[in-house]
């Protein structure tokens, strides 16, 4: 199976056997112009088999590396297979593939490298998320808007569309856990253009969110630390020649 198109939809999934087939089918129905790649982040259920059965290409990580590492595997795949656009869609049915149209149009019209779907720009807040999480998101949004000097409303959204430059940047370096917020800051540091468009988000169909209440405090602190440390980095992303940790995209 070679690339059928120049666009790839990456669906990170961890134990999403209840919903993954539906998400893939919706994707294929709404956007037949996208190849579908499921990154199975070391699931202990049959997510990978179901996804394969539904006609998706599957990257099966041998153990759970966290959402950041899983999505990054998607970036590396997109980069190596020469995709020009990559969409990130959650595997739990939170996002409606039909709305990729909005993201694609915004990317073409506003000539941005990355487009994020924001639930807060949409008038129909059908799934506003619990108040505690919303507060956290607004705090991140406020800080990020200050840092990147551009209005950001939903920095934790995992419904995104990346152009080639975004793919190349994040294939090289993508945050480990809870990566979305940091990624916005990285885009700013690398002078990639980003914009938000209104989308609807739905309550997850099944499975459990990766962010439980116990973890949300850790989430807050970790992301805040990452943001402020990220600000202090002179060169936020290691470039070839730097004394770097490790690269994802280089050689085997």
């Amino acid at each position: 199976m070679t690339n059928r198109s120049s666009s790839l939809a990456v669906i990170p999934a961890y134990n999403e056997s209840a919903t993954i087939a539906r998400v893939i089918e919706a994707m294929q129905q709404e956007r037949p112009d996208f190849d579908v790649l499921v990154v199975d982040d070391g699931s202990t259920d049959c997510t990978a088999a179901i996804a394969r059965g539904a006609g998706a290409t599957v990257l099966r990580l041998p153990f759970n590396v966290g959402i950041g590492g899983a999505v990054q595997a998607g970036f590396v795949y997109a980069q190596e297979h020469g995709y020009q656009r990559m969409a990130q869609v959650d595997g739990d049915g939170q996002h409606d593939p039909a709305e990729l149209e909005t993201l694609l149009r915004a990317m073409a019209e506003r000539e941005t490298d990355v487009v994020c779907g924001s639930r807060f720009l949409h008038s129909d807040l059908s799934y506003p998320a619990p108040i505690s999480r919303r507060t956290g998101i607004h705090i991140f949004a406020f800080l990020l808007s200050l840092f990147v000097r551009q209005r950001v409303t939903d920095p934790t959204s995992g419904f995104r569309l990346y152009g080639r430059r975004g793919i190349e940047l994040f294939a090289r370096d993508y945050p480990h856990d809870y990566p979305e917020v940091e990624a916005v800051l990285m885009l700013h540091h690398h002078r990639l253009r980003m914009c938000e468009v209104p989308v609807r988000m739905f309550e997850r169909d099944g499975g459990a969110s990766s962010i439980t209440s116990g973890k949300s405090a850790y989430y807050m602190v970790k992301v805040l630390l990452a943001l402020f440390v990220g600000l202090a980095r002179r060169r936020p992303v290691v470039e070839p020649g730097d004394s770097a940790p490790v690269f994802a995209s280089h050689g085997i």
Partner: protein
């Protein structure tokens, strides 16, 4: 030599020997052994050489000289732990990359095998034809 000096000397020598033995058995990489050896040697020197320890204690404003020894030992422990956290971070980053590469390779292998199976299937009638024609000869 008073008792505390004796005990701390013994402990430092013990640590030194254990670390060296671990390196000898290749259970400890030299890279990590060096920090431990350095710590053991410093503690040993200060345990034996009382004068230096007293001077150091005075410098830090510690009244009791043996406490200075503990102070330094704790400092080393913190340093080592930090060092391990850094090493652990590097390792988890590396294992993440390995997991990604492995998944990408497996996907590529699967695709290649599928393609091969397809082409073999497509060739099968041809092969049969070839066999038939050769058997005629």
């Amino acid at each position: 030599m008073d008792r505390v000096q004796f005990v701390s000397t013994l402990a430092a020598v013990g640590l030194l020997l254990v670390v060296l033995e671990l390196v000898r058995r290749r259970r400890l990489l030299e890279r990590y052994a060096l920090l431990w050896l350095f710590a053991a040697v410093v503690v040993l020197v200060l345990a034996v050489w009382r004068g230096a320890l007293v001077q150091l204690a005075h410098l830090f404003g510690i009244v009791s000289a043996p406490n200075a020894l503990f102070f330094i030992a704790v400092g080393f422990i913190l340093l080592l732990l930090l060092h391990f956290s850094a090493a652990l971070s590097r390792l988890s980053d590396q294992s993440k990359v390995l997991a990604q590469r492995l998944a990408l390779l497996e996907a590529r292998l699967r695709r290649t095998e599928e393609r091969q199976a397809e082409s073999e299937e497509a060739l099968e009638p041809l092969d049969a034809e070839l066999e038939r024609s050769s058997s005629r000869w």
